[in-house]
């Protein structure tokens, strides 16, 4: 998917993650992460974000992420939401494609 405009998903509440995404002019994936559990899980959070973006076929994006201790499933869900919003898709989600990798 192509990131066409800036979008936001998630909240700053405990156990959630807030993701702001924007275009990144062919400069790949850039993630700025701030997490309350950065030391313990920072690497894993980045991994999940990268993997989910790859699954969604996003090649260029800039992400500003504030994590408040979200579980992997939450991180994936928020990433799917923010990418769709940024790509301008607000209905008729391709659930089958998502289910193929999100098991």
């Amino acid at each position: 998917m192509i990131i066409e405009k800036q979008a936001i998903a998630g909240t700053l509440e405990s156990s959630d993650i807030q993701i702001i995404i924007d275009k990144n002019n062919n400069q790949g994936i850039e993630i700025e992460l701030q997490s309350s559990v950065e030391k313990q899980y920072g690497r894993r959070i980045r991994e999940v974000l990268h993997q989910t973006l790859e699954n969604l076929k996003v090649e260029n994006a800039k992400l500003i992420v504030v994590d408040q201790g979200a579980l992997d499933c939450t991180i994936i869900a928020r990433t799917i939401a923010v990418v769709h919003r940024a790509a301008g898709i607000t209905s008729n989600y391709d659930w089958e494609a998502i289910e193929e990798w999100n098991v």
Binding site: Q6, L12, Q18, I20, I21, I64
Partner: protein, 342 residues
């Protein structure tokens, strides 16, 4: 615990407004009129927090004492940020008391500047002040004396041109910053364009936009400052600190030119604050305004003439470039706006 968020229609319901104002006053925050979206957080029907938005600035945030320290503020700020980004802004700002800075850092905000124990200014954006500064750095020009001038140019007059021409002679390089906020009768794009046209004959002058970083009175949160502290002074100090610490170093600016305004106390305070903040780092040059018919030329004088339908007389106050624009079809809408509104 579940709290409910409700929109407060403070512009439409006096009851809502009274409740809101009372709550803010208890938190020692002065209610403001320049808000365009307000919500309240409720715990079983009792209001426990409130927050507002004006454009992309979060303001008038207050959380009831018993609920401070996390969850409630996070919920409130999340909601307001979603609203800001949903509106299409790509940045979000907060003015707050320095003692609250920590809470916002925790939510991913970055501090840009602070006026000692009075006010802190924070940002959250994908395109941050860092990228703004990096863009500016690309336009850096070498020289020994490098001047900066900030102007609204609403519209660009002979007075502005005179100030820039003077700076152009006295310095190797001159950087002009035109306010980007679209709150003036002349749109930002038009204002910047007229500045560019009006200085086309000067080869050491460069025109930039202020971005979000040279703040305007509209966004200034006078609400949490004590009544006896001069609001203008603090606003000017914040402005000066951002200029001194971020913008001037990016371009190597070591002089700032301003016009004097004998009749305006606000400008006097502003110039004083610039002088105090700049200290020895940046030289402040205060120029006397150019006069026509023994009155200083100002953009407000031009707008006044337009309002009174005396367009032909603005010719003596404006460079040809601005005057030609006023005669063009593009300007007709702006002119009729001035005549009906201002």
């Amino acid at each position: 615990m579940t709290y409910t968020i409700k929109r407060l229609w403070i512009d439409q319901s006096q009851l809502s407004r009274d409740e809101w104002e009372l709550f803010l006053k208890q938190a020692k925050i002065r209610p403001e009129n320049t808000v365009d979206y307000t919500v309240g957080l409720y715990d079983q029907g009792k209001i426990i927090a409130t927050g507002s938005i004006y454009h992309n600035v979060l303001k008038c945030l207050a959380v009831c004492k018993g609920y401070q320290g996390g969850a409630v503020l996070n919920r409130l700020v999340s909601h307001l940020m979603n609203e800001v980004f949903d509106r299409g802004y790509n940045s979000c700002y907060v003015y707050t008391k320095p003692e609250s800075v920590q809470s916002f850092l925790h939510l991913g905000f970055t501090e840009i500047a602070r006026v000692t124990d009075q006010l802190a200014f924070l940002e959250k954006a994908t395109v941050t002040i860092k990228s703004f500064i990096n863009e500016l750095k690309k336009q850096k020009q070498s020289g020994r004396h490098i001047a900066g001038i900030v102007m609204n140019a609403n519209p660009f007059t002979l007075g502005h041109q005179y100030l820039i021409e003077k700076a152009s002679i006295e310095n190797d390089v001159v950087h002009i910053f035109v306010l980007s906020e679209d709150l003036s009768v002349f749109p930002a794009k038009v204002r910047k364009n007229l500045v560019k046209k009006g200085i086309a004959h000067l080869d050491n002058v460069y025109v930039h936009s202020t971005g979000n970083y040279l703040v305007s009175a509209k966004t200034f949160p006078s609400y949490f400052l004590e009544e006896d502290t001069s609001v203008t002074e603090i606003q000017a100090s914040l402005d000066a600190i951002i200029f001194r610490d971020h913008i001037a170093p990016a371009l190597g600016i070591n002089r700032r030119y301003v016009g004097n305004e004998p009749d305006s106390i606000a400008t006097h305070i502003y110039n004083q604050a610039l002088k105090k903040t700049f200290g020895k780092q940046i030289e402040l040059v205060i120029e006397k305004r150019k006069e026509i018919a023994s009155k200083p030329i100002s953009a407000s004088r031009v707008r006044h003439l337009i309002k009174e339908n005396r367009l032909s007389q603005t010719k003596y106050l404006l460079p040809d470039t601005t005057f030609h624009f006023l005669e063009s079809p593009e300007a007709q809408k702006i002119i009729s706006n001035i005549q009906t509104k201002e």
